[in-house]
């Protein structure tokens, strides 16, 4: 076996290769060459017009880039939402629950006009559940009441008018009319104390002693404004909830239910059925629950109630 381990490298093989290449001279025709070269140039020209392969790859990527960006943003948003503590809530439109005092816009406008002359005692019985005539005791309280009323989302019913009326009472207006409002509120309370039930008048009488020396001319106007603002706050929740909140607050403080003042109602969307209460979370279903945070003043004690949209009322431990 005297064979070359790598064929073609021996002298004999190299001589054969040389002789092969010396005789192997066939070439394609010029016309074939011309067609191939023309095709190559056409390919380059078409690439230049429609973009090189790399450019096409880039354009393919840029075509999908907006979708990729949108998907990234969506993922980021979902991630952020999941990071938000469960107790944190967000303002949502007022749930469409049945409200006994649903009026059309003209009715509300008329009602608003009536408010200037009609006392609370003359209103329908159902109104007593919502139209708590709690006069702000100071300018700050009046501003707070107005400010907390304003974030309420538009309600698709007649409450819109009363809400707009409440919004019309800006803090600035309240500031400028504070003395007159105080007089008006006091006047209103006196009237109410005389005409409403004996219980209510007893509860309010100490705080509604009419001051003397106030401007009677400014009273009707300011009275109408404050009445709208307060009623809007209270009427934002269903009657059953207002009654339950008052009764619970009365039970906790030992006061009369009529002396419990609902000072703020904030619509919320609870993350689950625990209504934002940590203690109840373990057994709560995970569905979102629309509801309210209702702040009441019970004889100087402030209580915050977490409610759903209908009949669940809860005071969270530690609040």
């Amino acid at each position: 076996m005297n064979e070359d381990p790598m064929p073609g490298t021996s002298a004999a093989d190299q001589e054969l290769t040389r002789r092969w290449q010396r005789q192997s001279l066939e070439e394609p025709s010029n016309s074939t060459d011309a067609r191939i070269r023309a095709a190559a140039r056409d390919a380059i020209a078409s690439s230049a017009s429609s973009g090189s392969p790399e450019a096409r790859n880039r354009s393919r990527w840029t075509r999908f880039m907006p979708l990729a960006a949108a998907a990234s943003v969506a993922l980021l948003a979902v991630g952020l939402v999941r990071l938000i503590p469960r107790e944190q809530y967000q303002a949502v439109p007022t749930p469409e629950v049945a409200r006994p005092r649903e009026t059309t816009a003209p009715e509300s406008a008329a009602q608003s006009k009536q408010d200037s002359t009609q006392s609370f005692a003359e209103r329908p019985a159902g109104d007593s559940l919502y139209a708590e005539p709690s006069a702000p005791e100071s300018r700050d309280e009046a501003e707070r009441t107005t400010a907390r009323t304003r974030p309420l989302e538009p309600a698709p019913d007649g409450d819109l008018t009363s809400r707009q009326a409440a919004e019309a009472v800006t803090a600035e207006e309240l500031r400028s009319t504070a003395p007159a409002e105080a007089a008006a509120n006091d006047q209103l309370s006196v009237e109410q104390a005389a005409k409403t039930s004996e219980q209510a008048s007893e509860a309010r009488a100490p705080a509604t002693v009419a001051p003397t020396g106030t401007s009677a001319a400014a009273a009707p106007s300011a009275s109408r404004r404050m009445d709208s603002a307060v009623r809007s706050t209270v009427s934002a929740i269903p009657a059953t909830l207002a009654v339950q909140v008052r009764n619970d607050a009365a039970r906790r403080t030992g006061l009369d239910p009529q002396s419990i003042h609902i000072v703020a109602v904030d619509p919320v969307a609870w993350q689950n059925a625990s209504l934002g209460c940590e203690a109840a979370r373990a057994s709560a279903s995970e569905a979102r629950v629309p509801g309210y945070v209702v702040t009441v003043d019970a004889g100087g004690t402030t209580l915050r109630y977490h409610t759903d949209g209908r009949d669940q009322v809860r005071v969270c431990e530690g609040e």
């Binding site: 054969l16 290449q21 380059i44």
Partner: protein, 212 residues
Amino acid sequence: MTGIVDAASAFHTPTFMQARDAGDTETDEALMLAWQAGDASAFDRIYARHRAGVFRYLLRHCRDRATAEELHQDVWLKLIAARARFDAAARFTTWLYSVARNRMIDHWRRNPAQRLVSLDDDGDGRGIGELLEDSDPAGNPQGAATLLQESALLVEALEALPAAQRDAFLLHVEGGLAVGEIAALTSTPAETVKSRLRYAYKRLRASLGDPA
């Protein structure tokens, strides 16, 4: 335009080595990348290097010049169309001859009556003695050798080789591929390729009267 002039002058150089000797030192892969990037002259240069080798590879297999011209054009058009898929990490000649080889196989599949052979067939072809006897009705090998020119002897000896040996020899001599590259291109073990080349060289030498 200088590149086109250079390429035109290189068209008639038979092999890539001659083109390189002529001063064209850029690698095939670099030229392919330049062509991909839009340099039309790069293709002219790369075509000048390999046009003859590819054509002869096809011609020796199909034995018909018109068919070889058609296949040759198809191979290069396919390469032009697939230029974006060329990977610079691979060797250009391996890619080029794999395209040519596949086109050859396709041709035989579509035209089985013309000639259906397997490029993996290692079976013995006709012996060189038989070939020479066919060429010389008188049955005198010595007289036939004198009648036929050396080139004709070689070509006919090559055609007498088993297809796999002929394929390995053509890839080695016309394409300039090394044993390892032929092995990769044909999906054959390197030792098998070596063996095929060894037999091919031996038989071709025998055709020229060199028994060694």
